[in-house]
Structure formats: structure tokens, C-alpha cells
Assembly symmetry: C2
Homo-oligomer: 327 residues x 2
């Protein structure tokens, strides 16, 4: 019966092959990329862009939006990302780049991508210890998200260099985004679109100020009260960038060396942008579609706070439900 | 030509009739209802319950969820309600009762209902001046939302008394709701469902504690550290109520007279609920689908804060874009 044996062997090998292929398909690739002498760990989820909304194919031909979110370990992180994910899950042709300030990628973020069927990529990049805010530090002590946004830029330049169209936006995990903001972004024609941001810089709304010509509106200033001498006194939430600009200026990055409050301005300057090139959106900057809301720091009792701090290394110190609240 | 005259008259009358009917249809009825010797102003939007999600008819036969949200004038109110509305707009068979602590209903809330196609009702009920928190007051000085939640209860009892099935839930405007919370609510069988709430009462998670019998799980306590002596040491976000219970106990209300932290407990006691009747949900209280997040108070500059305070009476003191940020 040698023939039958060959058949069985073939069957076993075939089953084994199928098993291997299936595991490979489900495997979320971890790629090491060297970047500024450190390791950027990349956890790639789904790279094929399809419409997130099953019943809405209308914007498949429109520019994809690349939404970059730096995020870090804190008691409210899971809540904030859940809420943001549920907002982004409604936007079609959106690609979400989450960059965690962490040693290892959090499983709940992968689950969020899968559950909400959001396309994107989950990266991890740690802030160097000497640049990291402590819980008790004031927010302004160091600029936050520098490393993470730069990792995203690096990733975009390496992996989306074939994308001729697309919009890059830096969106914090606790801001509030009206869905209509995404329609505005897709109107960007050339380089950079700008719009008002609610509750930021001590103001009800920070906004570009416009000049009206016979045929057009152009930005001729900003209403910022805080450091109005900045070249672009704007919050990160107030502009989005054509991806071609990111590719053309292939070395532009955010920098710790920018003076306090100048991070956005220096970055925009490095993209060779002039004020008159900014494209005012949101009905000539009269509508507010994004607010710089912040989630209040949780007032945890001392024991709970210690448990939270220890949990990042030894998650077994938590009960099942505590683990589910933060991881 | 008297016949022709009659025809023209008939035509004019008919056009007039159509005009009146159209206006009536679009008119958001303002009804005055006397309640505790004060006026409850009711702005009814759409009362027919249909599925919010165009492509999702699967839960039309399931219990409707009545989501009650007290809300008040503050710089972040519009942002919070926009974000919450976008979350609720994804839940089918949901009826949103917003109760504003205001003199007049805010137009942006009506617009939100219309834009997101959410079914519900928009009520206004002012907190008496002597019970109203000032901006600088600590949160615990008075219980918040008492009048507004009671107005909602009153409205439900008067207008939804024919509803034999349905779930009533009290959801703040700045909490974080995982969509899966709503699936849990619909599992309530008899009276009241309970589940864990993240980041509340100084803890990572407050949760009912369960006893496991051969066939069942029952609530035998709570892990609350703050005032654990309360009969039901739970946050408002941690339970939902079968509408039949609301109708059966037709005088149950929230009260300013409850000692601090006892508002939920006293209300549940007034519904004649025993601990063993609570139905533990969210996978035997091991999953967290709601977090008691709070939006940080905006650090507005003095001039901006004054502008904000004045705006509630004279909105013309704001520029168009400032108005859009908060109204």
C-alpha cells in the first residue's frame, strides 16, 4: 500500500501548509526599524484601505485621511481611545496611526482596531526617560508626543511613499472631533488646511484671521493671545497636511529644541510654508468642528494609584475587572 | 365667472392649509407642564422610534433604551454633547432625553438631534438658584442634575406610560460609553441591571461583588471604598432600570435631601429594590464598558471667561466663530 501512504503524507503536509499559512495571515508583524539610533517597533495591523462604513461607499474615491494619535499609559487611556475609536470608526477612508509611548504594544488597542474594523497601524515608541513627564509634573514641562509623532512621520515616509493623495492630521486622544471636521480636511487642495479650534490657549476659540479679496479668502493673522509672536500661533488640532508635502520634505520632524509653544510653528516652517499658502476651511473659519478638550486626571486613592503604577510591569497585581478597566 | 372664483378661492385655501400643516410639522412643540409648582418646558423633537442606523434593523424588536442626560452651560458643553451624540447616533432603538439646566433650550442641541438623526426629546429645567453650583464651587457642594433627572422621570411617566418594555439609563454628558454597554442593558430581564464603572470614587473600577451559586450569579456586596456603608454604593453610570419599575413607583424621585453620596441609594430604595434582585451584567461584572471620565474645566483667560459668562444673556458679545464654539 505505498500509494496510500504517499496520499496520507501528502494530506498531512497539505494540512500543515494550510495551518502555517493561516497563522501567518493572522500574525501581526513586528518589524524593527532603526530610527535615530533607537528601535521603532511596528505592529502592523491592516494595510488595505477600505471603507469603514459598510453602507457608505461614497468617499472611497476621496483622499484618505491619516489620523496620527500619540498616546501614553494613564488611568483614562483606555476610555479615551475607546471613545476616539468609536468616533473614527464612522469615518470612511480613514487610516489610524496610533503611536504608544510604551515598551510593548497594548493588546486592547489591537482589539479596538479589530472590533471597530478600523484600518491602521499600531506603533510603539518610548519617550526617553529624561524627557518624560511625571504624573505630578505640569503639562508644559516638556513638549509631549514629540517622539511618537516623529515615529509616525518616519513610518508614513517609509510605508506610504506610493500614496500620491492623502491628508495627514495629528489628533490627540482626548480632543473632541465633530464628524464634519473630516469633510473639511478632504477639501485641502494644495498644501495645508486650517480651521478654528475650540477651548485652547485660554480662549473660547483660537482661529486664523482672514482677508477677503474679490475671489478668495486668505489667512492674514491669528487671534491667539498666548505668544502671538509665533510664526504660526496655532494648535496641532487646527491644521492638516497634504501627504505630498510630508514626502517632499523628507527630513521635517518635531523637535524638543523648539522653544515652549513653538513646536507647531517650527514644524510648519520646516515644511517651507508661508501664511498665504494656508487654506482656510470650515466655512471661512467661522465653524468649530474640533475642541481641545482634555480628560480630567483621575483622583485615585493612594493605594489605587500605586496599584495602577505597578500594573504596567506586573499586571497580575490587578483583579480581572481592574485589568479590563485600564488594559 | 363665479365658478372660477370659487376654484381660485379653494386653491388659495388649500395652499394655506398645506402651509399651516407644514409649519406645524416642523414646529418643535413647546409644552408647559406644571411640576412641583414650577414650569417644565418641554421641547419635543421626534417621538417616533425608528432605528438610527440605516443599515441595521436587527434590534428594532429589542427593548428601546431611554438615555437621560442632564447638562448645563459651561465652555465644554457643546463639545461634550457633540461627542456623546456621535456615540449615541450609532445605537439603534435609542431615545435620548436631554434635560438642560437652562432658561431656554439651546438651538445647537436641536441641531444635533436633527443632524445625527437621533430620536428623543429636549427638555429644559432650571436648578433653583440656591442649589446651583458656582464655577468656583467644589463639585460635591450640591448634588447635580437632581431637578433635571426628575424632570426626565416626570416626562417618561407622562408620555411613555404606554411603553411596556424599555430600559432607563442616566448617562452624564462627559462619561465614556463603549457601544457594548448598550447590548448589556438590553439583557435586563426583570428590574435593574448592574455592571462595573471605570475610574470612579477614587478607584480604578467600582463594581458589584458576586456570589456564584450552581445556576446563577447574585450581588452580595460592592467593592466601594468611599462610604461603603451605603445600601447601594454605586455610581449612576453603573445601573439601568426597567421602565415598568419607573411606572410602578410613580412617585420615586431623586432628592436634594439625600446625604452626600446617597442620591443613588435612596432612589433605588424608593424603587423597593433588594440587593438580590440586581442583575449582574457585563460578563458577571468582569468587563468595563463605561468610565466615569470628566472633561477638564477649561483654563480660560479672565477676559474670555467674562465673555463666556456674559454670552448666556447677550450672545451678541461674541464673534460668529466664538458663538459657534459654545452655542
Amino acid at each position: 500500500m505505498p500509494h496510500q501512504h504517499t496520499n496520507s503524507l501528502f494530506f498531512v503536509l497539505f494540512a500543515f501548509f494550510i495551518l502555517i499559512m493561516t497563522s501567518l495571515y493572522n500574525f501581526k508583524t513586528i518589524i524593527d526599524l532603526s530610527f535615530e539610533n533607537s528601535i521603532l517597533r511596528t505592529n502592523i495591523l491592516l494595510l488595505n484601505l477600505t471603507c469603514n462604513k459598510d453602507n457608505n461607499n461614497k468617499c472611497l474615491n476621496e483622499d484618505p485621511i491619516i489620523f496620527v494619535t500619540p498616546t501614553s499609559y494613564r488611568p483614562e487611556q483606555k476610555a479615551d481611545l475607546t471613545r476616539l475609536g468609536q468616533t473614527l470608526g464612522n469615518i470612511c477612508n480613514l487610516f489610524w496611526i496610533i503611536v504608544e509611548d510604551a515598551q510593548l504594544p497594548s493588546k486592547f488597542i489591537d482589539d479596538l482596531f479589530n472590533r471597530l474594523k478600523i484600518k491602521g497601524v499600531h506603533l510603539v515608541k518610548q519617550t526617553p526617560a529624561d524627557k518624560k513627564l511625571k504624573f505630578s509634573d505640569p503639562r508644559w514641562k516638556f513638549p509631549r508626543g514629540v517622539e511618537q509623532r516623529n515615529s509616525a512621520l518616519f513610518w508614513i515616509r517609509n510605508n506610504l511613499n506610493s500614496w500620491k493623495r492623502g491628508i495627514v492630521y495629528f489628533g490627540d486622544d482626548d480632543n473632541t472631533y465633530d464628524w464634519r471636521l473630516f469633510d473639511e480636511m478632504r477639501k485641502i487642495n494644495q498644501k495645508i488646511g486650517v480651521w478654528p479650534v475650540g477651548i485652547v490657549g485660554g480662549m473660547l476659540v483660537e482661529t486664523p484671521l482672514l482677508d477677503r479679496t474679490l475671489t478668495n479668502y486668505t489667512v492674514n493673522g491669528f487671534n491667539s493671545l498666548w505668544k502671538p509672536e509665533r510664526p504660526f500661533p496655532m494648535d496641532m488640532a487646527g491644521f492638516a497636511i497634504n501627504i505630498s508635502l510630508i514626502h517632499e520634505h523628507s527630513t521635517s520632524l518635531f523637535s524638543y529644541k523648539s522653544p515652549r509653544g513653538f513646536m507647531e510653528s517650527r514644524f510648519l516652517q520646516s515644511l517651507d510654508i508661508k501664511r498665504e499658502e494656508l487654506e482656510p476651511l470650515a466655512m471661512h473659519c467661522t465653524k468649530v468642528f474640533v475642541w481641545h478638550t482634555r480628560t480630567q486626571k483621575s483622583a485615585l486613592m493612594a493605594d489605587e494609584f500605586q496599584k495602577f503604577n505597578m500594573a504596567i510591569n506586573i499586571s497580575s497585581s490587578l483583579s480581572t475587572v481592574e485589568e479590563d478597566a485600564i488594559f
